[in-house]
């Protein structure tokens, strides 16, 4: 964490702005989504509250103005609209600008202040336009005085609720069966639900199972009953007071489900059967019979007609609700997480990496000296070192969602700028990746997505002419594949014509006109330096950066980029990225007196190779019935041929190609930290990084992926 509290606030506020943006994007899809309305409000409220502590008056006053509008929406006083979402996004950008040093503090940037005034002005016009008519729009209900309840939490004022001490909260189960005459006597059960909502958070479960068929029904009678789970700081008497006018005629039961510190209570909650019996939904004897069955209890109870599906569903909802309340309370009471700055995490991972290298050296020394005690200590340490390594890598992992969610806004803004209808679908957002890798992926992905929207997807008219849905789709997905994470950007646009790419590459002098290439290699030419030029770029995707820079950036991460495309159907760009940059486990190989590390994630097997096999003309061997091409690394790196009798062949695979790597000798497994290559090695083909062994000896990291590709290219001719 930063030692400067103001900088810590800025970091937290940026995270909250990310949450605000995600909520606004959700609201664009579903304006009635109350969770997103709450989330937007909470983000603004927290930014305002924390900003107050640092006397950031401009920021606080602006956030307050925006928050007030969202509070109205949440309370049903104003409708959610596309204009408000647009203004919300502009407000988010403005707060981000105010957060920058000098933004809110100095108050010097008149242009920035003017932008704030403009947004506030637009928001106040919107608030004035909505009036107060939005709240709980009255829906006729002549004679009953009933209203259609707003889906948003109503009344009460969130500010006063938020200021109530949450540690006194209790959770009640309220069973409410209104009198069948309640409508005739002018009562309205929905007003009671609304009043309960004003006391705190509610889970409302309505039951329609007592409603008879039309023929037996009295249209003026009330048949619906409710179970309500309420979490509130209100006492039991205050809860009972809500029912004061229906007491005696309606059945009301208030029961305390949960109270006190969760430190002395269990997170788990009652079982389904227990809840149903407690609520009087089922007879204990029936429950006992159903328990004898090995099937799911809920299903059995419904199948045997002991209880209706909606009663089972509501009992399950109650179970989940109370568990969640307890979990949330435990998190807040035990303070289960702390924030640590990424620079400290980086330092930790580096130290762990050094420690891992030292341990590897120590084990080597122990074995070389044949000291059994020393070897035993080394082995015991190994388990600890491995756990420490895994933990430090795990601490550095974050879900790719933090990267992906930012692209929703990008796609939305681009589609507006380009007048295209584009949907962004996100899959696998929970996939975790090293925070540093995620940071480094932002620019390449931004460029790829811009290209997809700008060049990949057609206009609505072109799409309709091609008999495609008017709305284009970009799918952004992530998934694990071995020690890598694959990130894919797929569009359903016009695709890329490989022949045209080839022709352009010839025109730009990237390849000779008579060069034969298969389709995959033709498409890969778009990653060649000089293929994209700023001359023909548009405002959107043209930033003077071509796909060659994307490829370079991905390769710097130790990753690869591939492209597949079908004209008329769309394009997929697939990035394969190592899970972490920090620590790798590899096999240490010896070659011409030097050391090379081969990442263990690629290794399939190691086999002995005799000189007679090795020195033949052919660079293929029969590997378990398949023809396996191999590289003599001595020859590849320009060393003289080996004069030893036996060599080692390390069989490696990068998921696409399998090859063998011929080395002189193999040492042990070795865990290490990869250092950046010095400029001397940057141009060495087949090497992706440099390491220092525990005794200070330098070693190079073999770029297996690159060698597999070189080999595949040679095979293809």
């Amino acid at each position: 964490m930063h030692s400067d509290p103001l900088e810590t606030f800025r970091e937290e506020a940026r995270e909250l702005l990310g949450t605000l943006e995600s909520a606004l994007m959700e609201l664009e899809q579903d304006p009635s989504d109350t969770n997103s309305i709450d989330s937007a409000f909470r983000s603004l409220h927290t930014i305002k509250g924390s900003g107050n502590m640092f006397e950031l008056d401009q920021l606080v006053s602006f956030a307050h103005a925006v928050e007030a509008v969202f509070a109205d929406v949440r309370d049903g006083k104003a409708p959610m609209s596309t204009t408000l979402i647009e203004l919300g996004l502009q407000a988010k950008d403005h707060i981000a600008a105010l957060l920058e040093p000098g933004g809110a503090e100095g108050g010097i940037d008149e242009e920035l202040l003017e932008e704030g005034r403009r947004i506030e002005n637009e928001l106040s016009k919107l608030a004035a336009g909505s009036g107060d008519g939005g709240r709980g729009a009255t829906e006729g209900a002549a004679g009953t005085g009933q209203t259609e309840a707003s889906g948003a939490r109503s009344g009460g004022g969130a500010e006063s609720r938020e200021e109530e001490p949450s540690d006194e909260e209790r959770t009640y189960r309220i069973t409410f069966t209104p009198s069948s005459d309640i409508f005739r006597t002018g009562g309205n059960p929905l007003l009671i639900l609304q009043e309960l909502g004003e006391l705190g958070n509610t889970l409302v479960m309505g039951f329609s199972d007592r409603i008879p068929p039309l023929e037996e029904m009295d249209g003026e009678a009330c048949y619906v009953a409710w179970d309500i789970v309420l979490t509130s700081s209100a006492g039991e008497n205050a809860v009972r007071d809500v029912f004061i006018f229906v007491e005696g005629t309606s059945e009301v039961n208030v029961e305390l489900l949960d109270e006190g510190s969760v430190l002395d209570t269990d997170i788990s909650y009652k079982r389904l059967g227990e809840i149903l019996v407690e609520r009087g939904d089922i007879d204990p004897a029936d429950l006992e019979q159903a328990m004898a069955s090995r099937d799911y209890l809920g299903e059995t109870l419904v199948q045997r007609g002991y209880v209706t599906p909606e009663r089972v569903e509501s009992a399950l909802q109650e179970q989940q609700y109370v568990r969640r309340i307890r979990e949330q309370r435990q998190v807040s009471e035990t303070g289960s997480s702390i924030k640590v700055g990424t620079e400290k995490l980086d330092a930790l991972v580096n130290l762990v990496g050094e420690f891992v290298s030292m341990h590897a050296h120590l084990s080597h020394q122990a074995e070389a000296k044949g000291d059994r005690d020393f070897v035993a200590v080394g082995e015991q340490m190994e388990a600890l070192v491995r756990d420490l390594r895994d933990l430090s890598i795990d601490m550095h992992m974050v879900p790719v969602d933090i990267l992906f969610s930012g692209f929703r806004r990008l796609v939305r803004d681009l589609s507006q700028d380009l007048d295209k209808d584009v949907a962004l679908r996100i899959e696998g957002a929970e996939t975790e990746l090293d925070k540093n890798v995620i940071d480094a992926l932002k620019d390449p992905l931004l460029h790829i997505i811009r290209n997809s929207v700008d060049h990949g997807l057609e206009s609505a008219q072109e799409r309709e002419a091609a008999r495609k849905p008017a709305q284009g789709t970009i799918e952004l997905s992530a998934y694990h594949s071995g020690a890598n994470v694959v990130i894919q950007v797929t569009d359903d646009g016009k695709g890329i014509d490989a022949e045209k790419v080839r022709a352009k590459a010839v025109e730009r002098g990237i390849i000779e006109a008579d060069r034969e290439l298969d389709e995959e290699r033709m498409l890969e030419l778009i990653f060649a330096p000089g293929f994209s030029t700023t001359g023909e770029a548009t405002n959107v995707s043209g930033r003077g950066v071509g796909m060659d820079v994307v490829k370079q950036n991905i390769e710097k991460l130790g990753g690869t980029v591939r492209i597949e495309s079908r004209p008329g159907e769309g394009t997929t760009i697939r990035l394969r990225i190592p899970l972490t940059l920090a620590i790798v486990e590899g096999l240490l190989a010896e070659l011409a007196g030097g050391y090379y590390l081969i990442n263990i994630a690629y290794i399939v097997e190691c086999i002995d190779m005799q000189a007679q096999e090795r020195d033949g003309e052919q660079r293929f061997i029969n590997f378990r019935g398949e023809v396996l091409p191999y590289f003599d690394l001595r020859s590849f790196f320009g060393f003289p041929p080996a004069d030893v009798e036996r060599s080692q062949l390390v069989v490696v695979s990068n998921d696409e190609h399998k090859i063998g790597l011929l080395v002189d000798n193999i040492h042990d497994n070795y865990q290490t930290v990869i250092k950046s290559l010095s400029t001397v090695f940057e141009r060495v083909d087949g090497v992706s990084g440099a390491i220092t062994l525990g005794d200070g000896t330098p070693a190079l990291m073999i770029d297996v992926d690159r060698l597999a590709r070189v080999n595949a290219e040679e095979v293809r001719g």
Binding site: T34, G140, G143, S208, I211
Partner: protein, 111 residues
């Protein structure tokens, strides 16, 4: 004031409810729904797109219609038209299982 109109020619036969679906006209609406069910053999559609106001008593009639239709072996469907969002809000607020609105729209956990 509620108005209903039944069209046997529609496919499926449709009962359109206009203006109010509420306590004030619950008796009349109930009779109109029974009558419509009497006139169909296989399916009945209730069109609520013309409803301007509704309440719990009115919505109870929809559940009762579902029950009667099931007993008669009639498939009953409910269409909301532009009123879908308003009815969704109502179902969410009352915690009742929405009729003919996919379950994923339901979210009665007011956090």
């Amino acid at each position: 004031m509620a108005h209903t109109s039944f069209s046997a020619q529609s496919n499926p036969p449709t009962l359109a409810v206009v203006d109010e679906l509420s306590y004030a006209d619950a008796g009349e609406l109930r009779d109109a729904l029974v009558e419509a069910l009497d006139q169909v053999n296989e399916a009945l559609h209730i069109d609520l797109s013309g409803v301007s106001s509704f309440d719990l008593a009115g919505v109870q009639l929809l559940y009762a219609s579902k029950r009667s239709a099931a007993e008669r072996g009639v498939t009953l469907s409910v269409g909301y038209g532009d009123n879908k969002k308003r009815f969704e809000k109502f179902y969410r607020f009352t915690g009742l299982a929405p009729i003919d609105i996919p379950a994923e729209s339901k979210n009665n956990d007011a956090q």
